[in-house]
């Protein structure tokens, strides 16, 4: 070869999915997994911990390439599902800390240095999370059919129903109905939260889901993650579903079980309770 390939096109980086204890279960599981770009997954060990890593090309996972990928929803989805696939498979074998998407190091040596540096914090967090998993609970307020929609005064049917005053009365009645429905949904969400919290050791409130990816029926009013003891998962799910059974106007969705994503940060993002946002 006379032309040396440029560093740009051949360099490999280390993409990190998760950190766990360097135990046989992890060592057995990791080599069987498929990571980014269908590449294999390997462990980098230091201080009794193991980072779960794939080598990835800098062209696609370097600064520019990665940004391009994350800005394209289709490619972002592939990356997110691949990351989650690795984390989920590991978590079925042993408790791991999932890392936030797009944690990339220059090489495995740098990954080992990071482990050595942050080891104590990881170990403490892994101990806290061991034996638990994450469940998601989302409460949705369902739209209510309204008897009449006074977007404009309806045709007068002789009794002054089309008058300004009648119109305002209908508007007021409609507003009251909306307020009642919203209050009822909020009360139900609070009750669901109470029941869920009784079966869990911690809770993180995520931001309610909106936008084009939020396809669930109704308006999402709470989007919580609970840290639940593994042995109590069934009980948790049953109690949460029961808490909202037969209540009109709401829908409750339980997701998971998840690896403890929402509890993997010493300072998990918390939204204040009852944080109501206008539209």
């Amino acid at each position: 070869m006379t032309v040396a390939p440029t560093r740009e096109t051949t360099a490999e980086l280390s993409y990190v999915y998760a950190v766990g204890p360097a135990v046989p279960e992890l060592e057995r599981t990791a080599p069987r997994l498929t990571g980014m770009l269908e590449r294999p997954v390997h462990l980098v060990e230091a201080r009794g911990l193991a980072a779960i890593v794939s080598s990835v090309p800098e062209a696609e996972f370097g600064e520019e390439g990665f940004k391009d990928q994350l800005e394209d929803l289709g490619r972002l989805e592939v990356i997110a599902r691949t990351h989650h696939g690795v984390v989920d498979a590991l978590f079925r074998a042993v408790t791991v800390l999932p890392l936030r998407l797009a944690t990339v190091y220059r090489d495995d040596e740098r990954v080992a240095a990071m482990l050595a540096e942050s080891g104590a914090g990881f170990t403490a967090l892994l101990e806290r999370l061991a034996g638990h998993l994450e469940c998601g609970v989302k409460v949705y307020a369902l739209p209510r059919p309204s008897p009449n929609r006074p977007s404009a005064p309806s045709r007068a049917d002789g009794g002054g129903a089309g008058s300004g005053r009648a119109y305002l009365q209908r508007r007021k009645a409609q507003r009251t109905r909306h307020e009642d429905a919203a209050r009822e949904a909020a009360e139900t969400a609070a009750r669901v939260r109470e029941v869920a919290a009784a079966h869990a050791v911690d809770r993180v409130a995520h931001r309610p889901q909106q936008g084009e990816l939020a396809t669930g029926e109704g308006r999402n009013i709470t989007n919580d993650a609970y840290l639940v003891p593994m042995a109590a998962t069934d009980e948790f799910a049953a109690a949460v579903r029961e808490s909202a059974r037969d209540l009109p106007g709401v829908r409750v969705e339980v997701t998971g079980p998840w690896a403890p994503y929402s509890f993997a940060t010493p300072q998990a993002p918390r939204v204040e309770d009852g944080d109501r946002r206008g539209r």
Binding site: G85, A89, V104
Partner: protein, 70 residues
């Protein structure tokens, strides 16, 4: 993945197993939580934040008085 043997508290309840995870639930967890480490120069936290700002429009309908938390 759907027919994995359920282990360690992973039960077979329909809502807790089986069908594919919703992308929005995944992004809540992968962009908004998970352990944060400052990686090498490659993609600094600030860069990822920029990406997140670009994603906001897709994931949330963000208004000026309702900024995304990330």
């Amino acid at each position: 993945m759907g027919d994995d043997v359920m282990l360690r508290g992973f039960d077979e309840e329909p809502a807790l197993a089986g069908h594919q995870v919703a992308l929005i639930d995944l992004l809540d967890r992968l962009l908004n939580s998970g352990a944060v480490l400052t990686g090498d120069l490659v993609l600094s936290i600030a860069d990822v934040d920029l990406v997140r700002i670009n994603l906001r429009a897709v994931i949330h309908s963000v208004t000026p008085d309702d900024p995304a938390p990330w």
